[in-house]
Symmetry: C2
Subunit: 379 residues, 2 copies
């Protein structure tokens, strides 16, 4: 048999779920993981323990892989260029990934290709932040370190010049953005293959709590057909223009005045696409694997009228397994996805999916299960 | 976290797919496999290579497992009793498994509890076969060795006394059964947990070619509601009466005169239930894991009007991966499930699932994909 080897860099839950989705395809899956306890390392046969920041570790890992893909966007771009020079297929490649790695590069590129973004520019110090505010509608202003942020980390909302010092302490460039007056957040998920085929999932609503994704509703309720098509087209355009291979999540703001603006990009399976595991004909993970192998993509259409995903965050209650009894007995259609992670307060340790015809019911079931698993409700 | 460890004995495709289904539950999966190349060993992290027929290997493997379950029914019953004496949860347990291990024990028990079976009795030699034939409608008669048969192996259809010698050569008891005049084969799949909860999947039609399952149609077309309910009730009764824990497949004959008779039992996930991976709310594999852990069972109802499974057998064409291009491009909804096995003529190396509203279309898509993967068609 000539089944290919997919090399996955990073052992988090995205790698874990990509492995799960790759098993039916009969492909070989090889994992580069920081530790044997990492989420994906617990369930994969062929694991190399090593540091992806070490070039020689990465090069040795890549030998024998037909393609390299990623659980996260932290691998240095220069390392990826060396792998490509070694003749390894890197998907998505460094030219695309730099836009996910550096928010400054991303904003510059999106503006260049005409994608609507919040007003933005790189700022140099708190006084420059004040100038940026004055150029527009004033404070508040959003500040982001161009690298290293996720789940609300590396992001500040500042109300005046005096409050704008912290983001500059890390010594990395800081991007200022207008604070968008949005009514909600959306996400457009697309998958693109090297030969240019692309599929687009329904646009979803992403409900954030404290800067962390809490609930995703697929499709986004009451979204106009026009905005939905516009969001899908934007994501397809970004994927094509940036040369993305694999899954691309485009996080969007829906503004009060009826526009959509791009917030963030992720070039890998994404939290806003977890609903596809149980709610779409082909999951984002299966399509990511197909894309990086340049196989024809699977049908992205929904299998249910509504699908809701709720993240399970760590709480004060460490024994989530005992909560299965109640959750499974209460809702025999509930889909639990746990990541094998130790519970720490606020840490994403799993998610649940529910689906059905009645959105209120589907939301309530997901909410109840996520809260019960976390331990914030006990009945 | 206090997530349990499920110990799986046997490294075949059923173990592989059970692991896949267990990943979302966050459970630990430990595998006892004959070789590192076995289907499941390719995709599981925690693998012990060893011979399940060796008691001490089995006992050592079971240490640290919360429950032991099985990819096949070949573990000696005496070994399982030792494990139970060691305090290990064995599910299904030896009292149930003996009925799947020995067709003579199975027939005796089913008759005792009033389950309709083909006329049968243990026969001692060819002359006794002739007497068995004369006791009923004469030849042909079906002969089966009571242990060791599967996929048509260990089964003979004999037309006279002279042709009845072979089955006795193996030196194991031989069961004679009337050759049932059936119009088709059905299968009733149920899952039962230790505390007695049970779920029943829709009754399916199983199309056999040369004694090997070829296609499964869910639900069985044109099956009367009465026979369907009777088949489901039979399977639930058998599961309860035999004390089955986990998945139970009951293979049935639908006779020309409108009755159903039990053909075979399997106490593990079964080929006739593979359609549930993509066609049911909860797959047989996920429910098997839930059952052996005594968790509440998942909803067994179908997600599509029709789901068809077609087995992919090895042919003369070894490179199935290259066939993915055509199959996936032709049918973006196709679900391929490959087992990581080397292609050998006639060997089950994978299966495909298709679903939809139009049975003729769903069957054609499954048939085409299975034939194309095998290499018997090239366009």
């Amino acid at each position: 048999m000539t089944f290919p080897v997919v090399g996955m860099v990073g052992g988090g839950q995205l790698a874990r779920m990509t492995h799960e989705a790759g098993i039916p395809l009969g492909i070989r899956f090889k994992l580069l993981s920081d530790t044997p306890q990492d989420s994906a390392a617990q369930v994969v046969s062929d694991v190399v323990i090593g540091d992806y920041r070490d070039l020689e570790t990465l090069r040795a890992f890549a030998q024998g892989c037909d393609v390299i893909t990623f659980d996260h966007e932290h691998v240095p771009t220069a390392h990826l260029r060396v792998l490509e020079a070694d003749g390894i297929a890197v998907r998505p490649g460094p030219d695309a990934l730099q836009h996910a790695h550096d928010k400054g590069v991303m904003r510059a590129k999106l503006s260049e290709i005409g994608v609507p973004c919040p007003r933005h520019r790189i700022v140099t110090d708190p006084a420059d932040v004040a100038r940026f505010a004055a150029e527009g509608d004033g404070f508040p202003v959003v500040l982001k370190t161009v690298v290293g942020g996720y789940d609300g980390k590396g992001v500040w909302v500042v109300r005046d010049e005096d409050g704008a010092a912290d983001p500059f302490l890390a010594g990395v460039p800081v991007l200022a953005e207008e604070k968008v007056d949005f009514v909600r957040e959306l996400a457009a998920n697309v998958v693109r293959s090297p030969h240019g085929q692309a599929v687009s999932y329904p646009v979803v609503e992403s409900v954030q709590v404290n800067g962390v994704c809490d609930t995703v509703i697929a499709p986004a309720p009451d979204l106009s057909a026009e905005l939905s098509a516009q969001a899908q087209q934007l994501a397809l355009t970004i994927a094509a223009e940036l040369g993305v291979v694999g899954h691309l999540a485009v996080e969007l703001f829906e503004t009060r005045d009826g526009r959509i603006l791009v917030n963030e990009l992720a070039m890998r399976p994404h939290n806003s696409g977890h609903w596809t595991q149980d709610g779409a004909m082909t999951s984002q993970f299966a399509n990511h694997v197909r894309a990086v192998l340049d196989l024809p993509l699977g049908d992205p259409r929904p299998r249910a009228k509504w699908t809701v995903m709720a993240n399970v965050l760590g709480g004060d209650f460490p024994d989530m397994y005992s909560a299965y009894l109640h959750c499974m007995a209460r809702d025999p259609q509930l889909k639990i996805h746990m990541y094998g992670k130790d519970v720490k307060p606020g840490r994403k340790v799993g998610h649940v999916n529910t689906y059905g015809d009645d959105l209120a019911d589907v939301r309530e079931r997901a909410r109840h299960a996520a809260d019960y698993l976390r331990g914030t409700i006990t009945e």
